[in-house]
Each structure stands twice: as structure tokens, then as C-alpha cells.
């Protein structure tokens, strides 16, 4: 579509969307946006627009998936047909199946699975518009939806990527940087437990760059974590005000 620019980051360290190397895109979070889900959240992370809903704890369906000694978390990451440049078939792609799995595994460490045997929590993520880094933004929203559903959690989980464009390690790649850059490294993190729950990478990174990128992603996660907590508080404050 667009021509590849000569450089993704200029001499002054400014990226093609005007950000600095370690600068996040704008993030907007909203909790409790859907009336029929037990919990829900909406995130705008740059141009990503993602909705997450949580249902449960409830009966596991189909029954043979029920576990006698733990709660079953199911996660579906799904992209709307209109969320990307070329219309996407609504049938789940292999990419969506893989992302559903790694997102599930990024959320599980936050849950007390063994305390709620024979129950299930279902998390549905709908990417309404995609602009790079959807899995991270999806995790940020999904954790809020689970919290909003009242499911006890060890900590919120927050997602943010780092990566490399041209020769520079940068935070939070957007679509064009993801496609034209040298590496993308999505991370999910539980700040109060210092626990990395998702880590993937593709591209090419020297070990030192890798170390730097992990650190930068964690810093990004920490910033978004503050917004997550604020969003939860806001929702319940608002609820409280209404109730008074």
C-alpha cells in the first residue's frame, strides 16, 4: 500500500509516527462496557481497538473438558473481518488459534485455578481494528475483563511489545514498524510478581539487544499497568456514585 520509507527512525531518534524510541502509543481503557458479559473491557492502544469479555466462573461446556482439580480457562482471540486491510474470513486462522493459546497461557498464571475446580472462565477477545501489537493490547483488556467479572487474581496481566527498527531497540511497534522492522518481541507481565507470562519473538536480535528489549517492554507494561488499575478504580467509583 504505502511505500517503504528509507528509515523507520530518523537521526533525532523520531519514529515515523512521531514517537521517540521508548515512547508508548496512546492507550485508552474502559471497563464494564458490555451489559451481558460478567466482565468486559475495551482498549484503544494506538489504532488498535479491542473488546474483551469474560464469562464465569460457570459450568464448563462441553462437559468433558471439565477438570476435577482446577478451573478451566478458555480464551478465544478473534479478528473482525473488517479489522485488517484485506477482509479476513471469520473462520479462525492458524495465527488466531496460536494467539488464543499463548494469550490463555499468559493469563493463567494470574488465576487461582486450583481453588475453583470443576468451573470454567471463558474469555472472548474481538479485535475490531488491528494496528500492530494486538496480542499485547488484547491481554491488557482481557485481564481487565476477568477482574471486572470478579474472578480473584494474583495480579493484573499487562501486555506490551518491544522490538527493533533499523538498528534501534524501540517500544511498542505499530503496524508499519512491525512489518518493516527487524524484530518484534511481545511481552506479557505481572508487575507486582515480576513475572513474564508471555514472550515471543521473530526477527533478529543480538543477545544484548534482546536483554534491552525485554527490559524496555517491561517498562512499557508497568506504565500501562497504572492505567489498568486506574480504569478499574474509575469503573467502581462511577458505580459507587451511581449507587449513592
Amino acid at each position: 500500500m504505502n511505500e517503504k520509507p528509507d528509515k523507520l527512525i530518523d537521526k533525532k531518534g523520531i519514529r515515523t509516527d512521531g514517537r521517540k524510541a521508548d515512547e508508548l502509543r496512546s492507550v485508552k481503557l474502559q471497563v464494564g462496557v458490555l451489559s451481558h458479559a460478567d466482565g468486559s473491557a475495551y482498549i484503544e492502544h494506538g489504532k488498535n481497538k479491542i473488546l474483551a469479555a469474560a464469562f464465569g466462573p460457570r459450568e464448563v461446556h462441553p462437559k468433558h473438558l471439565m477438570q476435577a482439580d482446577r478451573m478451566v480457562l478458555k480464551v478465544r482471540y478473534h479478528m473482525a473481518p473488517f479489522s485488517v486491510q484485506e477482509r479476513k474470513s471469520p473462520a479462525p486462522s492458524r495465527r488466531e488459534v496460536e494467539l488464543s493459546k499463548v494469550i490463555k497461557e499468559s493469563l493463567e498464571p494470574a488465576l487461582f485455578l486450583e481453588l475453583y475446580p470443576r468451573t470454567g472462565v471463558d474469555v472472548f477477545i474481538e479485535v475490531l481494528q488491528a494496528d500492530g501489537g494486538t496480542r499485547c493490547a488484547a491481554i491488557t483488556a482481557a485481564a481487565l475483563a476477568i477482574a471486572d467479572a470478579g474472578v480473584p487474581m494474583r495480579d493484573l496481566v499487562v501486555g506490551c511489545a518491544a522490538g527493533k527498527i533499523d538498528d534501534t531497540v524501540v517500544l511498542d511497534l505499530y503496524d508499519a514498524e512491525d512489518k518493516l522492522g527487524a524484530a518484534d518481541l511481545p511481552v506479557a507481565y505481572m508487575p507486582s510478581l515480576n513475572a513474564i507470562t508471555l514472550l515471543q519473538m521473530d526477527g533478529s536480535l543480538e543477545p544484548a539487544e534482546f536483554e534491552k528489549a525485554v527490559g524496555m517492554a517491561i517498562e512499557g507494561c508497568k506504565k500501562i499497568y497504572e492505567m489498568q488499575k486506574e480504569a478499574l478504580k474509575t469503573k467502581y467509583m462511577v458505580v459507587k456514585e451511581v449507587e449513592e
Partner: protein, 263 residues
């Protein structure tokens, strides 16, 4: 919902209807509040989000290139698809479209297609070879009842918001030109669904009413007062008299909505 709860709620709703009232304080022929936001998905060629009370439907329109159908070589192709996304209701499950989402898509499709609201011939680039393919994807985000009316409204709002890239055929090659052209929308069908609960006709049923409703009937009508699509649904029936009454209600409500929306 358990059968007992349904029966109690059903009784309550009927008693209110006897008095001309509804659970949410509307009159029998009142529509819930409508809010329309267009252009909410910047990356799509067209989009609109409609709130009908708490019901929330997002429609994205993608415009691609494709071949026309052999029997309509001069016309573009319109495809309507609906997803009952599982965020919208604890009763929706992920998976391929079931009979409810297929019916929803087909009823909305019929309203658009039979009203001839899109100038299909303007979607033709090279007759018999290249035409625009318009994908209308209905995404139900919150199911609080009356998905048909909300989806039909969102689909029309999204189409009115849709732009097509410009193409020309030069030396047998297709070339994209600068700029965009709005999708040629000629008219604006309005879809109104009436529900029947123990003999009472109500407009724009919400979810609590849908759960106890006998049946529904949907009319899509045009600016000139003609009817372009009908769909009866649900396990109950209508008398011929009720059908005619529902058609009049639908025509009246359409006039009212056209004024409100300036369509």
C-alpha cells in the same frame, strides 16, 4: 433462564401489557433510544456502530475487487454476513454461523437488496470482468434484543459511510487512481420489527420481551411507502388482521425514524 423464572417474568410482562405498559416503561409502540456513530473503524471502507437501547451492533464494510456473477455482468457483488460474537451474550458460542446468525444476515441482506438502495451498476469497473465486491460484516457486540432492526440500521449507516477507491481500465490493465468515491446509495430502507406477546403487538422488543414473545414480524419499507422485505419469526403465529396491523405500524414507525435520522 429457568422455566419457572421465565413463567413469572412472562406473567409480569403480560399484566403490564394489559395496562399498555412495558417493563422498561416504554409505550407499546415506542422504539428505544437510537444512537448512530459512523466511521468508527478508520481502516474499513465504511463502518457504523448503532446503539438501540443497550443493544450494540457494529458493521464494517470492506470493498474489494472481484468478478461479477455470470448472470449480472454489469453489477457489483454484495455480501452480507453476521457474527453473533460471543462477547455479546452468554448464550452465543464461537463457531460457524448458526441458524440465527444466518437468518439475521439474510433478512438484512434482503432489505438492502430488494430495496435496490445501492446503485449496483456503478459498482462495475470492467463489465463481465472486474467489479467491486462489497462485504457487509454485521458484528453484534451486545445483545439486548431486536438484533434485526439494530443490524439493518447499522448496515445502512455503514453503507452510507462507505467510500470506494477509484479505478480505471487502461490498455487492458486495471489502475488505481487518486481519491475515493462514496458508495452510490440511492435510497434508505427502514426495518421495523413488531413482536407479539399474548395478543399484544409491541415495537422494538428488548431481550426480556423476546424471551417470552410468541413471534415477531419484520417489515423493511422504502421512502415511497412500499414494502420490500418481510420476515416472520418465532414459534407462534399471527392472525391476518395482526399482520396487517403490524405492517401499518412498521410503515408509521419508518416515517417517524426517517424524520429523526433525516434519511
Amino acid at each position: 433462564m429457568s422455566s419457572l423464572v421465565t413463567k413469572v417474568r412472562s406473567k409480569q410482562i403480560e399484566m403490564l401489557l394489559e395496562k399498555g405498559k412495558r417493563l422498561d416503561d416504554r409505550g407499546l409502540l415506542d422504539t428505544r433510544e437510537i444512537k448512530i456513530e459512523q466511521g468508527v473503524i478508520e481502516k474499513a471502507e465504511g463502518s457504523a456502530r448503532v446503539y438501540l437501547g443497550k443493544t450494540q451492533v457494529l458493521v464494517g464494510v470492506k470493498v474489494g475487487l472481484g468478478e461479477p456473477f455470470p448472470d449480472t455482468p454489469n453489477e457489483g457483488v454484495l455480501t452480507v454476513n453476521a457474527e453473533l460474537v460471543p462477547v455479546a451474550s452468554p448464550n452465543f458460542e464461537p463457531g460457524p454461523p448458526d441458524e440465527n446468525s444466518i437468518e439475521l444476515a439474510r433478512v438484512v441482506d434482503r432489505g438492502i437488496r430488494e430495496s435496490k438502495c445501492i446503485d449496483n451498476e456503478k459498482l462495475c469497473i470492467a463489465p463481465g470482468k472486474k467489479v467491486f465486491v462489497v462485504f457487509v460484516d454485521i458484528y453484534v457486540l451486545n445483545h439486548d434484543g431486536n438484533l434485526i432492526d439494530a443490524s439493518a440500521l447499522a448496515a445502512m449507516a455503514a453503507l452510507m459511510n462507505t467510500k470506494m477507491p477509484n479505478y480505471e481500465v487502461k490498455d487492458g490493465e486495471l489502475k488505481m487512481k487518486q481519491g475515493y468515491t462514496p458508495l452510490p446509495v440511492k435510497s434508505h430502507p427502514i426495518t421495523v420489527t413488531t413482536g407479539k406477546i399474548s395478543g399484544h403487538l409491541i415495537v422494538d422488543p428488548w431481550i426480556e420481551e423476546e424471551q417470552v414473545m410468541d413471534s415477531r414480524i419484520t417489515f423493511a419499507t422504502k421512502e415511497d411507502g412500499s414494502i420490500c422485505a418481510i420476515q416472520k419469526g418465532g414459534s407462534g403465529y399471527f392472525t391476518p388482521q395482526q399482520i396487517l396491523e403490524a405492517s401499518k405500524i412498521a410503515l408509521d414507525k419508518a416515517v417517524e425514524l426517517r424524520k429523526k435520522l433525516d434519511w
